[in-house]
């Protein structure tokens, strides 16, 4: 795993809080805004303590008006501030898609570069908590589809902190996709000036037999699969793109050219999704090196069900990755 210089392991949640606090201390134009982020400390407690330290001017509790306050953030960014807007979950960003797609993503280009939009839109997504069909989205592909946005999706506390700091200092709109299943994950983090640049994939585990590309919570599912496969003598290389706009295809393709096998894992749906898009890039870049079709692992093509057993059946599991890897290697796949 990527290591940092932090004195002690912290949670993904606390890593995000550190990034927010340090950037707010560094730059008085940075403010945070969102539903219940102040007195309530945030639905996932990422903004805990910020109200006490920075006051209501810079830690703004909003009404439940996702389109309105997202647009407000875009306008404040056009005016030169650096808003970090928390949309409580990605599910509610659907209400703000006009502001995100028609305004945040378009304004720089559409007006000939006159008005940069240095906004960060933080939002957690993902399933696995029996929250049902409307609270379980992974819409990473939606945002990655849109030119004008940058898209980051950290899988570790180190990257959560370093990528968020990069996002806040970036002059373009950044969609920052957290995962509800990762907030309690612990790990080392970097210091106040340790940034994780966009467009640089991380190799999470080295291996020679097959490249497995996974991001966000799926990195951990892939690493669990790697342990299972290692017990069978199969060593997979797990690569985490970390950002999809920009996408570090070179690191992915270099690995695939070496292993000649690839599986792409994505918690979103299969049709026109992240796994489909990354696979297409890999076919373009690595066709002559591939020994088998690229495997794709997605959530089932259904609205997320509530029942625990059905939800787990819908989500990518380590066993799904094991089977896909064995299949692409031409090995016997256990039933």
């Amino acid at each position: 795993m990527t290591t940092g210089d932090g004195p002690r392991p912290v949670t993904y949640r606390e890593a995000l809080t550190q990034a927010l606090r340090e950037e707010m201390q560094r730059d008085p134009d940075v403010f945070v805004m969102g539903e219940d982020i102040g007195r309530f400390d945030g639905a996932f407690k990422v903004t805990r303590g910020l109200l006490d330290e920075f006051g209501e001017r810079r830690v703004v509790d909003t009404p439940i008006s996702e389109a309105g306050f997202t647009g407000l953030g875009v306008g404040a960014a056009m005016a030169g501030l650096r808003p970090v807007v928390e949309i409580m979950t990605v599910n509610f960003a659907i209400l703000a898609m006009d502001q995100i797609v028609n305004n945040a993503a378009k304004i720089h280009y559409m007006f000939g570069g006159q008005a940069p939009v240095p906004i960060v839109l933080r939002m957690p997504g993902g399933a696995g908590h029996q929250l049902g069909a409307q609270h379980s989205h992974s819409l990473d592909a939606w945002f990655t589809h849109i030119p004008g946005l940058k898209v980051a999706c950290p899988s570790t506390p180190h990257d959560a902190k370093g990528l968020l700091k990069t996002a806040i200092r970036d002059d373009d709109p950044v969609i920052f996709l957290e995962n509800e299943g990762l907030y309690a994950k612990k790990g080392p983090v970097g210091g106040p000036d340790d940034l994780v640049p966009f467009g640089h994939a991380a190799v999470r585990r080295t291996g020679t037999h097959c490249t497995v590309i996974a991001h966000s919570r799926m990195v951990w599912v892939a690493l669990a699969a790697a342990d299972l496969l290692a017990a069978q003598g199969v060593e997979i290389e797990v690569i985490d793109p970390r950002t999809f706009r920009p996408l570090d295809l070179d690191t992915l393709a270099t690995s695939v050219r070496r292993t000649s096998h690839a599986v792409v894992v994505d918690e979103g749906w299969p049709e026109c999704g992240i796994a489909a898009g990354v696979s297409a890039h890999l076919y373009d870049a690595c066709f002559d090196w591939l020994d088998a079709p690229i495997g794709r692992i997605n959530s089932a093509d259904v609205p997320m069900p509530y029942a625990r057993n059905l939800e787990q059946a819908a989500l990518p599991q380590p066993d799904d990755i094991v089977r896909a890897v064995l299949s692409t290697l031409g090995r016997e796949v256990p039933r």
Binding site: A79, L81, G113
Partner: protein
């Protein structure tokens, strides 16, 4: 619909001091410029030199110029897709505006925006937007920034009667009232959202009353009268600037043409159009200027000739301007791009 405007319902507004003679002439000249510019744009569209959608503000000149003239030059303003007039009233170069309509590299936005997406940040004109209601929260954010930095500007957003029914308007009114943001909401009620009359789309067709529901002082003004508009918006801007709280003015106007150039305008009765055109804002204001002795008929002739030459020059400039180089296709997608691929790419370093 299409009743004669009532006498300023809502709170009594004391108009600010009338502009001095020089400014009165400037206001009139700007109204003439917008009228003539729009007519020329219409002609150029018919010739095929302007593409896409073209929404003309003919008939709405008093609403536009009266509003802009009541603001400081550096108060940020957002508008809708019917915004050539706002740019011109803010002082944008007519050449650059026309060139943008032509899609040329010399356009205000380098040919990226077109008629619906003009912006001139050097004049604090923060753009025309194509999604009804979608630009209103942007101005709210500019008002938030003004408050954050303790500046004495006011943010101004102009939107139409159609936008009043979008959910984001309710959200924006609420946050403006809740947080006492220095913003002026200007509802340019031209009485039709495309072909749908206000009273066929709005349960309450006194649209300014939407703002009142959020504790925002609001009133309606006859927007065929440029001085009435100027007075009402002056008062709204004073409230926002001095009290630091929002205000709203409904500008009741009438657009003479269809929704856009592709609208043959068959919905509205000829008699209704004629009744409103009889109160033409340019003719009305011209009578005031002549009556007060602020201009002579020779002055009017000279102003019209000047404006004609400015518009002619703008059209010539646009026509002679180079197209945007295809190699610039992907320029400006990002402030900090990662790629110099002329066709754009999500891939790092391509």
């Amino acid at each position: 619909m299409s009743t004669e405007p009532e006498a300023t319902p809502g709170p009594i507004v004391t108009p600010g001091a009338l502009p001095d003679a020089d400014e009165m002439r400037t206001i009139f000249r700007t109204m003439c410029l917008i009228r003539r510019f729009e007519e020329r744009a219409s002609e150029e569209y018919m010739r095929g030199r302007i593409g896409g959608f073209l929404h003309l503000a003919i008939g709405e000149e008093a609403a536009v110029v009266g509003s802009i003239s009541a603001l400081r030059a550096d108060d940020p303003v957002t508008s809708t897709y019917r915004e050539h007039g706002q740019a011109l009233a803010r002082g944008s170069d007519p050449r650059a505006v026309m060139a943008e309509l032509f899609g040329r590299s010399t356009g205000l936005c380098g040919g990226r925006g077109g008629s619906m997406h003009l912006m001139d940040v050097t004049r604090s004109f923060y753009g025309g937007y194509g999604i009804v209601g979608g630009s209103v929260p942007l101005a709210l954010g500019m008002a938030f920034a003004i408050r954050y930095r303790d500046e004495d500007h006011v943010a101004v957003t102009m939107f139409g009667d159609g936008a009043a029914n979008q959910g984001v308007l309710a959200e924006s009114f609420n946050m403006a009232g809740l947080w006492d943001l220095p913003i002026v909401f200007l509802i340019l009620n031209n009485q039709y959202g495309m072909g749908t009359a206000v009273d066929r789309a709005s349960a309450e067709d006194d649209l300014y009353r939407r703002a009142e529901a959020y504790g925002i002082p609001a009133w309606k003004v006859d927007a065929m009268d440029v001085l009435a508009v100027r007075g009402a918006v002056t008062e709204a801007a004073r409230i926002a600037r001095e009290d630091g709280t929002p205000a709203c003015v409904e500008l009741l106007a009438y657009r003479y043409r269809g929704h856009s150039m592709s609208d043959p305008d068959t919905v509205r009765a000829a008699e209704e159009k004629a009744r409103w055109q009889a109160r033409d804002p340019l003719v009305t204001f011209e009578r005031v200027l002549l009556g007060e002795g602020i201009v002579t008929s020779d002055d009017l002739t000279r102003i019209r000739a000047e404006v004609e030459e400015v518009v002619e020059d703008a059209a010539r400039f646009a026509e002679e301007s180079p197209e945007v180089p295809p190699a610039d296709l992907a320029r400006g997608v990002y402030e900090h791009p990662w790629s110099d691929d002329p066709r754009g790419s999500a891939l790092m370093g391509r």
